[in-house]
């Protein structure tokens, strides 16, 4: 279980978090939140054929390349995580 859920006592909420990736909670950091947003957006681009195709023309790439790069970007869409001071 990820550390962000460490403090969540409510098991029901814990279940919810486990089930729905991207669900927020009180201690969500800005980095996590933005990362989730970006992952959702990237997944939506890959999932909608028109958007992939639109980007492919705009950027002069093939659709396959756009899909690949978008999926790759899902790993760290906003760069590496910030250094944790308290740990």
């Amino acid at each position: 279980m990820s550390s962000e859920l460490r403090y969540t006592a409510n098991t029901q909420l814990e279940h919810l978090h486990a089930r729905y990736t991207g669900t927020g909670h009180a201690d969500l950091s800005k980095y996590d939140w933005v990362t989730h947003q970006h992952r959702d957006t990237l997944a939506s681009i890959v999932g909608h054929p028109t958007l992939t195709s639109f980007l492919a023309i705009a950027d002069g790439e093939s659709k396959g390349r756009i899909k690949f790069e978008m999926t790759e970007k899902m790993l760290q869409p906003c760069g590496p995580p910030p250094r944790k001071d308290d740990d």
């Binding site: 990362t35 999932g47 909608h48 492919a56 023309i57 950027d59 790439e61 093939s62 390349r65």
Partner: protein, 1093 residues
Amino acid sequence: MHLYNLTLQRPTAAIQAIVGNFSGFREQELIVSHGTSLELLRIDTHTGKISSAVVTDVFASIRSIASFRLAANHKDYAIIGSDSGRIIVLEFSVDSGKFIKLHQETYGKSGARRIVPGQFLAIDPKGRSVMISALEKSKLVYILNRDASVNLTISSALEAHAEGCIMQHIVGVDVGFENPTFAALEQDYTESDQDASKVAQKMLTYYELDLSLNHVMRRWSVPTDLRANLLVQVPGGQGGPSGVLVCCEGHIMYQNMDAVQHRIPIPCREGSSADRGLLIVSVVMHKMKDRFFFLLQSESGDLYKVTLEHSDNEVRTLKIKYFGTVPVSTSLCVLKSGFLFVASEFGNQHLYQFQALGEDDDQLEYSSATYNDFGILEDEIVSLDPIIDSQVLNLSSHSDSPQIFTACGRSSQSTFRTLRHGLGVEEVVECDLQSSPTAIWATKHIENDTTNDYVILSFTNATLVFSVGETLEDVQNTGFLSSVPTLAVQQLDSDSLVQIYPGGVRRILPNGHVQEWTPPSGLTIITVAANTRQIAVALSSTEIVYFELGLDDQLEECEIRKAMGSSILAIGIGTVEQERQRYPFLSVGCEDQTIHTLSLDPQHTLECISLQALQAPPSSICTIGNLVHVGLQNGVLLQTVLDTNTGQLGDTQSRFLGTRPVRLSRVVLQDGIEALLALSSRSWISRNRNNTHTTAFTPLLCDALEHACGFVHDICPDGFIGTTGSVLRIFCLPKLKDSNKLHQESVPLCHTPRQMVCHPNNNYIYIVETDNRMAINPPAGTWSSSIHILDPTKGETIACIPLDHTEAAFSITIVPFSARGGQLMLVVGTATNVVQVPRSFTSAFLRLYRFKENGEIELHYKTEIDDVPLALLAFQGRLAAGSFARSIVTLHTQGSRIVVGDMEQSLDFLTYKAPDNRLLVVADDMQPRWTTCSTILDYNTVAAGDRFGNIFVNRLDSDVSEAVDADPTGAGLLRQKPLLNGAAYKTRDLPTSIHKTTLVAGACEVILYTAWHGTVGILAPLSSKDDVDFLSILEQQIRGEQGTLVGRDHLSWRGYYAPVKGIVDGDLCETFHLLSDTTRQITDGSDVAQTNE
């Protein structure tokens, strides 16, 4: 405001294609996903031509599609992963010609979401199970089986989730008859999200479905290349070593559990950049009896053939070889009959026939400096994908309806296409007769003949007879009277001909004898109706004389003559059905604007059964089946249903065909279907729509014909012969059977088109074309651009003017500068070194060009500006330019108002206050829509489309509008009120241009939009409350009755981003024709919905 959305042309982009025996025939077929519709294609292996068997709208977004076959089954099924949150198994039913939903299993929310499966499908090669996966975390496995009565069964979902794993691809591993196994390319972010020092590995993981335990487990997982993007199944069991090919950027690997890894680089072209390896974008594995090979396509379009040398189920070497170059595809399909179907990612789809499999030639298995032909192009499916810009204009002098000019395609495959509603005509013969005929017939001599023997032309004082052979030859002594004009020619009985002329009825018997009937002295025959057994002639005394073939094959005159009391202008009779003696009714149109139905029953001969009033005097009548078509002198055609029992007329529909009196003739098409040829100032053909009970009128794209009829000959089976003035022409309609009624003509372009503008005086079209990354495998920011000038009516390029290196052109307009006395100038917005992500550029320019006499242009001057202009507008003799900083993409003006469309901030209304020389924002939208196109509908209303496929209509409150215009300085009105939301609707595609236009002369104005994947659609206003109610209820009923093919809730799909408001889905209403009769009765007892086009 209520609008009716109707697609004129479905999307033509091929998102994915699969191959299989979906009908259960011997020949393989293709299913192509167009994103929102599915199409079944058949390939004629002899001619190499592709034909479309069926197209179905699914009212959802199809994300993935795969075919599978149950063991010992003769038919393949298709599995669909869509945005419905459901897995769907489809069967193609040959009997009904439709896709049938076999199974629909719900597993998650709807929408193309990150963790809802549907993005990838992987099938066990033995057809025992399927894995459906999301982009992240979720993977579900379903077991496919058969029950006792050989029906497909599907298990409940088995989870193979991996928290925090991003999926790049999945594939079924061929393990023979061992437990089904799936391979996944995945990357876990849970650790790297927490700790910046951790690097996430990309893993190749095997998931095994234990059939005995009904459980999926992670079998094997190894790190693979970080830039791996695709997996390919390698045959296993008896036929191969099993395992997968992992396609990575720049090389290909073979990996399998407990096997040695092999790796080979992908050959790249000379001069390609070394920074970035080539990516494989599509792949196909083809298994033959004793061997198999892979065709891989790189992002630059090169095909590679990869083979494995293996022994004892162990791979020895991996070989790669350049194979050929075809357009970059989304799917490659190899058919057993030796064809390669390339579903191009942009532009037309291609079908090639293999000439060689690249085995015999001695080309080095690494060098790819030269091209070789692996096959020949057999057929193409035309595709508009993507439509980047369009204009709807009527530039053709002899057309009363506008043409749609589209700029489509990408880089060197870009085209400028002209779309017209109608059927293209293929001219076979054309000759000048010196004088104009008054009528024309093509007839056969003997009833059972399949082709025409004679062509008869009538002139004002003569009749010419031609015999049909290799050529048309003038013949004498045919028995026809040549010194008189002819009113009708009819093949009678089994082997005789009848010529009807003003002075009599002349029957020509096969032995050359002639029987003649003449009207009483002083009277002449005015008009006539005839079929193979009956003749009715109208005399100048308004009487009708009726003849019928008797039992001894003699033409017998009926004793009764019927006086109509008013001049008879047209009469019509239907054809005699097989085994029948006669057609029972005669339709008579009189000058007093009435049409009478007379009985031909021997008991009640020529008794009047019914009478109907017309809006104008009739000019022609033609009865086909139970439909009586009445052409009027004002150019209107009435279509009335004749009750074959009672003879009553009812259910009349009218249609305006043109400005001239309508002439009708019956034609029999190749498949034995009777169709109607209607001539006015335009020529039309009307035939039954496929599998429906309605008729479709389609104009013919040729010069207006004055007289025409069907002409059957070996060289043109579905031919026609007609006259325009004194010109005789024989033509055929090659695209008659296509469901697509938009005719295309294309002109090639040099680069990807961006924007176009039409010159108001010379009607030339000026297009700016720009391509990014114009080199082999180049970095972003290398652009090449040009300005393309073409003549749309002739379909030819006038000039193509390249711009300076690295300068990219984005926008174009023509401005009448008031400072130069209204002189028209062409303005092009450009920028250098533009990078899209993150946005940057070096310098931006406005280029001004002067027009030369011949329509070409010369540079006047070039001025540097602060920002990249993405939109330009002529505004009150000046130029308005949208900027890159706020991403203004559309500009429109009316009066002193400018409507600005922003790439991500929807629409703004601006007003120009001349005293202060200021532009003020007076209203903006409530929602931040990502505008792609917009158009002004009226002074306060604007229609626009956004990037997510929505079309919306916004209206400014008229009070605010007046206040804005009344205020001289505009000081008091900064951001007063938001725009009001008028209508909203999710279309099937991404709208790229939107226009207000009339498509048919005299019809109401409609909103026409073109969209990215090649869709052309209209939004027609519904004028009456009755129409709105009727269509809304019909839509609601159909929605409730059938559900969509992939289980997506229709209303929620149309309201994907914003609730549907004020728009009825015509595409759904049109499916009414496809419902079964019983459902149709339940759904609605009343009439079939009328549509505009």
